[in-house]
């Protein structure tokens, strides 16, 4: 599992981030003291570092610079300053990504995933999602069952992936739409219905019936 270190002085935000990342398949850890931040970070040596800019004792940009001297770990700078110049500066200090508070969590996850993918070539942890009945190939956007493979469109794939990730829970239409919107597919309600219908048809081709059930007025549920 990928280890993510959170360096953030706001206690609540730190704890919630930890919970959130743990819920999303990472092993999150957070620094609680900031006396020896640089040494602590190097000692823990995470796969990825989430670094707040405003810290007691030393500021994030300095830490970033110091760590770059010793390590190549991916660093995402978290800041509340949001102008172009600050962004440029922190990239200059050696950060790989920059995200502003209050952040869109899906975007945070996407940035983490893409950074980890780039820096851990060979591990490819997220390439396949195996479910009981089928396998989702993230890189090819296909669904596989008993050697039979069917291509899904971008939207269909995302919908299925989201439902699988939230299995055994009713997922509202709004939630699915938000997930797609985060990926810059600004579909409307009707398009979602069409997409879900097509997805069901494709699943039926693989003889997977009634995997996605409609809950009237509430949304969809994926259960097996």
């Amino acid at each position: 599992m990928q280890k993510i270190l959170i360096v953030e002085d706001d206690e609540k935000l730190r704890n919630e981030l930890e919970t959130f990342l743990n819920n999303n398949g990472y092993q999150a850890e957070a620094l609680k003291k900031f006396d020896n931040t640089i040494q602590d970070i190097v000692r823990i040596n995470p796969n990825l570092l989430l670094l707040d800019v405003n810290l007691p004792n030393a500021d994030g940009e300095y830490i970033c610079k110091q760590i770059r001297k010793q390590s190549n770990m991916p660093i995402i700078i978290v800041t509340s300053r949001d102008n172009e110049i600050d962004e440029l500066l922190s990239l200059n200090y050696g950060a790989d990504q920059y995200i502003t508070k209050p952040f869109n969590l899906q975007i945070l996850l996407a940035k983490i995933a893409s950074l980890l993918r780039r820096t851990n070539i060979g591990i490819n942890a997220q390439d396949k999602i195996a479910c009981k009945e089928f396998v989702l190939n993230t890189d090819k956007s296909t669904i596989e069952r008993d050697g039979k493979e069917i291509e899904l469109t971008k939207n269909e794939f995302r919908i299925l992936k989201y439902l699988v990730q939230n299995r055994d829970r009713i997922v509202s239409r709004e939630e699915i739409m938000e997930c797609l919107w985060d990926n810059e597919n600004f579909i409307d309600d009707n398009t979602l219905t069409v997409n879900v219908t097509r997805l069901r048809n494709k699943l039926e081709e693989l003889e997977l019936k009634e995997l996605i059930q409609t809950k009237r007025g509430q949304g969809y549920i994926y259960c097996n």
Binding site: D10, K12, L13, E16, L17, T19, F20, N23, N54, S80, R81, D82, N83, E84, I85, L88, T100, K101, P102, F103, N104, L105, I107, E174, M177, E178, W181, D182, E184, F186, D188, D189
Partner: protein
């Protein structure tokens, strides 16, 4: 400065001189002296005095004409003192001296307010950065505890976030120095970011997003444009027709000298007579007075102000009952294109 006025100023010395001459003439008339002397003395005195007076007049006229001329040409008239030469007569020197001192005093006063304002702006920016951490923390709590209640709190948090953003840009819009950073920015990325930012309310209110022809890059500060677009989208959401299908359309048209970004909605529109006033500060209009619209009259005012600073033209067209169209015109030409050398 007319000669007549100048002479009037010299009235006292002239009358004293004439009085002196008359007494001299009376004395000369009593003593037996030749006529030549009797005429020579007053004439030579008068002529010499006249020459003196004319020279003085010419030099003063030159100086003051120069002062007034420079004053006319100056945009910032208080700089006059830096531009006039030190004259060779005492009143002129005094005038310069007085100007210098009053200018200095005024500059100090102005600076005092400038520092106060900068101070305030810095505080506001600091405050906004501080408030973002609790907002982020609250959003994390909500994300980890998703349900109908937290969802509703999340919507309110979005509003708080937007209002804080507005404060930040308001503070920025009032400063003299440049606070922006121009670079090549892709309009699709900017539009996408704005739509994502407003996804909660847009999905909730079932507003369709229709975007096309956006793969254009312009030279601008993308953060500012995101803010401006955000205001426009929020307006479109706020002033939609509740009973109808709502749509926001965004696209660009590239001309020879510019790129125009259109933001169109099919909302309630703006009354004809009020269109010209929508960019005024505090103007809310008929729509703003509708129940539960909570119009502040700040959004479009800020958009206009920020656009002016960025050199982007903002134009608004609307038909009441049919919708509103806002155009952002980005200049694009040899003059504004950054060249890679």
């Amino acid at each position: 400065m007319r000669f007549k006025d100048f002479l009037r100023d010299k009235l006292l010395t002239i009358s004293l001189l004439l009085f002196g001459l008359i007494t001299i003439e009376i004395f000369l008339a009593i003593y037996p002296i030749g006529n030549f002397i009797k005429f020579y003395i007053p004439i030579i005195l008068l002529v010499l005095y006249l020459i003196g007076i004319v020279i003085e007049y010419l030099s003063k006229r030159k100086f003051y004409e120069n002062v007034f001329h420079t004053l006319d040409e100056l945009d910032e008239k208080y700089l006059i003192n830096e531009l006039i030469k030190t004259p060779n007569f005492i009143e002129g020197k005094l005038l310069r001296n007085v100007l210098e001192q009053t200018n200095k005093a005024m500059l100090e006063k102005v600076n005092q307010y400038k520092y106060l304002q900068e101070d305030y702006k810095e505080y506001i920016e600091l405050w906004i950065h501080e408030i973002k951490t609790p907002i982020a923390a609250s959003k994390m709590v909500i994300e980890n505890n998703k349900n109908a209640i937290t969802k509703s709190i999340n919507e309110e948090l979005d509003k708080i976030e937007d209002y804080t953003e507005q404060v930040l840009f308001y503070a920025r819009s009032n400063t003299v120095e440049k606070d922006y950073y121009i670079k090549k920015s892709n309009l699709r990325e900017i539009v996408n970011e704005c739509v994502k930012k407003n996804k909660n309310i847009l999905i909730q209110e079932k507003i369709s997003i229709n975007i096309h022809d956006l793969d254009v890059s312009v030279n601008t500060d993308s953060k500012w444009i995101v803010f401006i677009l955000n205001q426009l989208i929020q307006n479109s959401v706020k002033y939609r027709k509740e009973e109808n299908y709502s749509e926001i359309e965004m696209y660009t048209e590239s001309g020879k000298e510019n790129v125009i970004l259109y933001v169109k909605d099919n909302g309630i529109g703006i009354r004809k007579g009020e269109i010209t006033r929508v960019f005024e500060k505090g103007f809310t209009g008929t729509n703003g007075r509708l129940s539960n619209k909570k119009s502040t009259g700040i959004g479009l005012y800020l958009c206009k102000k920020l656009c002016d600073k960025l050199g982007v033209a903002i134009e608004l067209n609307s038909i009441q009952g049919e919708g509103t169209e806002v155009r952002l015109v980005f200049p694009q030409g040899s003059y504004t294109t950054l060249e890679n050398k």
